[in-house]
């Protein structure tokens, strides 16, 4: 058996567990990552030797470093992560990037009409690609470019998530400036935020394009090179053909729940911040009243005690906001719940998708059998062509093929049955739990809202008390 190497590609802060490869593929990978300043770590699964490879040197050699860390690498490769000695993804990645340079060069504001026909402003990002071959040959062609907006990146990622469920798909940068606790850039149009997003999107593309599996995807290639709206159609077509409508709706709802609760939390945080400011400034009254009372004869007492109440008022906001944090936590719980809900819906889509794939596979095989049996060519196929060109097969060959097909069909039918059952059971179970979740959510959030009202009432009562007291003091002035 050939030595098998496991590749760890270490770009900035994460690990890609690449597939296992044979030694012959090593040169391929090496070539791919020409421009990356990362070090490949190969370790042989068989003899547990560690090979570190510096891209530039191209030679396989073990290094001192490897000997140091080999143990920890074997036991837990992830421990290797913080080691920034190696890690410097300066330029692009690999695989697809062996063929082209990719960058997200610019960002621009656009206006347009959205789905409900309202004017909106959004940002688009310029994706530039250039063929590496052209560059290395000494030409310097202008890059091809096209504009895409954030939502299109999202569609691409969702597609990748479903199509490659076994791959840890790189994340996208924040959709919105999330949970901003102070005035800085809560705004999606803020130039800093846009810039950070641009970098994030570029990072996303580079990671995807450097991934051994993902980078070969045709849709990805289209995304980078064809400036059409096929990506939008993608969001409709890549999916499952017949998902349970209830699950589709639930998935929609989970998206909405997530965005709504996060927006609510954001605004609430800003309101709390401002309220804090109002209360605390009143503390200054306390100080000045106190100083002033020293000057006055008649007014002195009244002012002094009023000052104390102002201090109390200013201090009261700490408890008020502390309590409100509990309310915020209750909301946050459901913000995170939304993710879980979505996962359940997606899993349904996956099982359904597998079922549909298995079904269509079966249908195809049955068609093939029919063709073979009857000799009729139903659909155009390459095989058909070659047959015509190069002659038919012998009856023995046909027999062999037929029996293989029969086997496969039987298997396929089993698979389809299995998957159908799996799907149905999943739907049943999931639906029950989603109903339970819904009831729980309604209960909990209702409690939370009532709790919020109670908090507001308490805050008002405190306010009434403080200012009534202050009023008494002012009377004495």
């Amino acid at each position: 058996m050939l030595s098998v190497y496991q590749i760890y590609l270490l770009p900035v802060y994460s690990v890609y567990c690449g597939s296992t490869i044979s030694p012959s593929q090593i040169p391929l990978y090496t070539k791919c990552i020409m421009r990356l300043k990362v070090i490949l770590i190969f370790y042989s699964l068989q003899d547990r030797t560690l090979i570190l490879k510096d891209i530039k040197s191209r030679d396989l050699e073990s290094t001192e470093f490897g000997k140091h860390c080999s143990n920890s690498l074997f036991t837990n490769p992830c421990l290797f992560l913080p080691c920034t000695l190696f890690v410097q993804m300066v330029q692009e990645g690999s695989t697809l990037l062996r063929r082209m340079e990719i960058s997200v060069a610019e960002a621009e504001k656009r206006t347009g009409k959205n789905t409900v026909n309202m004017q909106e402003i959004f940002t688009v990002y310029l994706i530039e690609t250039r063929s590496i071959d052209a560059i290395t040959e000494g030409h310097n062609p202008a890059p091809d470019s096209l504009w895409r907006r954030y939502s299109e990146f999202e569609i691409l990622r969702n597609y990748l998530l479903v199509t490659y469920p076994f791959i840890v798909v790189p994340p996208l940068p924040e959709k919105r400036a999330e949970f901003v606790w102070h005035k800085l850039s809560a705004d999606n149009m803020d130039p800093d935020f846009v810039e950070r997003r641009r970098v994030g999107l570029e990072n996303f593309l580079l990671r995807v394009a450097s991934h051994s599996v993902l980078s070969n995807d045709k849709i990805l290639y289209h995304f980078l090179t064809e400036a059409d709206s096929r990506i939008k159609a993608l969001s409709a077509t890549f999916k499952v053909k017949n998902p349970d409508k209830r699950f589709t709706e639930m998935k929609h709802y989970s998206d909405e729940l997530q965005s709504l609760t996060s927006q609510l939390l954001r605004v609430r945080a800003r309101v709390a911040d401002r309220l804090y400011g109002v209360y605390k400034v009143h503390g200054n009254y306390g100080r000045v009243f106190s100083e002033w009372s020293a000057l006055e004869k008649e007014m002195g007492d009244g002012l002094q005690s009023a000052g104390h109440h102002m201090d109390a008022y200013a201090a009261s906001v700490d408890d008020i906001l502390e309590e409100e944090e509990h309310y915020a936590d209750q909301l946050k719980e459901y913000l995170f719940y939304a993710e879980a809900l979505r996962a359940v819906c997606r899993k349904h889509e996956l099982t359904q998708y597998e079922l549909e794939t298995a079904s269509s596979d079966l249908i195809f095989k049955k068609q093939q059998r029919e063709e073979l049996a009857t000799g009729m060519v139903r659909t155009f196929s390459f095989k058909g062509m070659t047959n015509k060109l190069f002659g038919q097969e012998t009856p023995e060959q046909r027999e062999a093929k037929l029996s293989l097909l029969e086997e496969q069909i039987v298997q396929g039918e089993e698979t389809v049955t299995e998957k159908t059952v799996a799907c149905e059971e999943y739907v049943k179970g999931a639906w029950v739990d989603m109903q339970r979740f819904k009831e729980q959510k309604d209960r909990d959030l209702r409690e939370a809202l009532i709790g919020y009202a109670i908090m507001q009432i308490s805050m008002c009562k405190k306010g009434i008390q403080v200012w009534t007291n202050a009023k008494e003091c002012f009377h004495k002035m």
Binding site: V278, Q456, I457
Partner: protein, 467 residues
Amino acid sequence: MSRTIDAVVSPTQTNTIPADISGQMLDLDEDDDLEVFSKDSTLAEGSMFNASMQTSPGSMVNQCKFEEDDEGDSKDIFITVDNPESHVTAIETFITYRVLTKTTRSEFDNSEYEVRRRYQDFLWLKGKLEEAHSTLIVHPLPEKFVVKGMVERFNGDFIETRRKALHKFLNRIADHPILSCSEDFKVFLSAQAWELTTYKKQGPGFLSRMGETVRAVANSVRGVKNRPEEFNAIQEYVEDFSNKISSLDKVTQRIVKEQKEYLEELKEYGPTYTLWSGSEEELAEQLKGVAGCIERCCKETEEQVGHLSDTLVPVLHEYVLCAETLKAVLRRRDNIQAEFEAKNEALATKKVDRDAELSDLGFVWGSLLGKNPEEARHQRQERLDGEIEELKEEIDKLEDRVEWANNALKGDWGRWQRSMRGDLKSAFLSTAEKNVDYYEKCLAVWETFLLSQRTEPSEETDRDNTP
């Protein structure tokens, strides 16, 4: 002292006291005090205040009724400032305000007057009143320019704020027992525009006003030597008060700013609940309920901020300006005293001169003129005696002036303090009341919501069972 004053206020004169004093103060160095005196009396012709005002100004001031407390009963003059209008001429654009006066005072010919005045006219009036009563506390005018905040003079808010302040200004004058008797005040309220212009041109000319300024500056440079202790105390108080009131002004403005920013955020908060309710079924009601509560609280907050801006902020600001006025008044009092002290010193010097031996220079002079030394000396001494006598008279007058100024200030000081206490107390009270009201209204909003939640019977049992 009082002897001289009585001479001034002889029963035959029908002029108002303030006019007397103004005559005295302006033209001190002229020998024709009495003439100037009578000149003023013609101006003040027909205006009669109170026959009982025939005592020393000091006691007069004390005698005046400081009846702020029962103002409602004794108020005999009502003034309003309203209706700002823009006037455009070739040279400039300006705003005039309508000044409406209703009065039963006998010194006014009519019982009602309606005139239009511009800011400059108010400035003129203030100047005249301060000239005439340099140690009385004249309520401040709104500022000429606002440094930060509003830039335009013709911005609506600015005009309204100014209008209110001008209204207060005139009413304060009207309430002041001495100032409201001022002829200038009367003319301000009653004269038509062209009459006012003519009137303004009369009175002490530019040069004499210049003279006063120069003297004032000279005196302030010299400084006062023996300020009475009570005025020291007042001075200190005014310094401290000025600091405190400025701080309060700043704090209050900051509160308004923070409150406004809070309101801005709050306005966005309610809609997020409404938005969410669109995605929910069971929860939709509650979410909309909460959104509604927040919106109503928004309205209350807006009202509360408005109240703060309309009630507390202007009053604090007024008293910041008052503090400056007080400082000026104290300075003027000091100047009066300084002048007196200066003259005293001059007298002392002259006396020394007179008692000194005949100087060589005098001897030389005398011999140049062909006089014999004895005669020369005698002449000189006579001359000096005469000057000393004059000086003494002047000093007496100045002394009276000082006393009168001090008494006026003392009297008005008490009045001002009461005013200040009253104004600030009521402003803070009003603010506290409004805040209580605000919280009570918000409380009601949320309690109503809570009530609506609790009355759903099916949920009652559920809630009791949930952990």
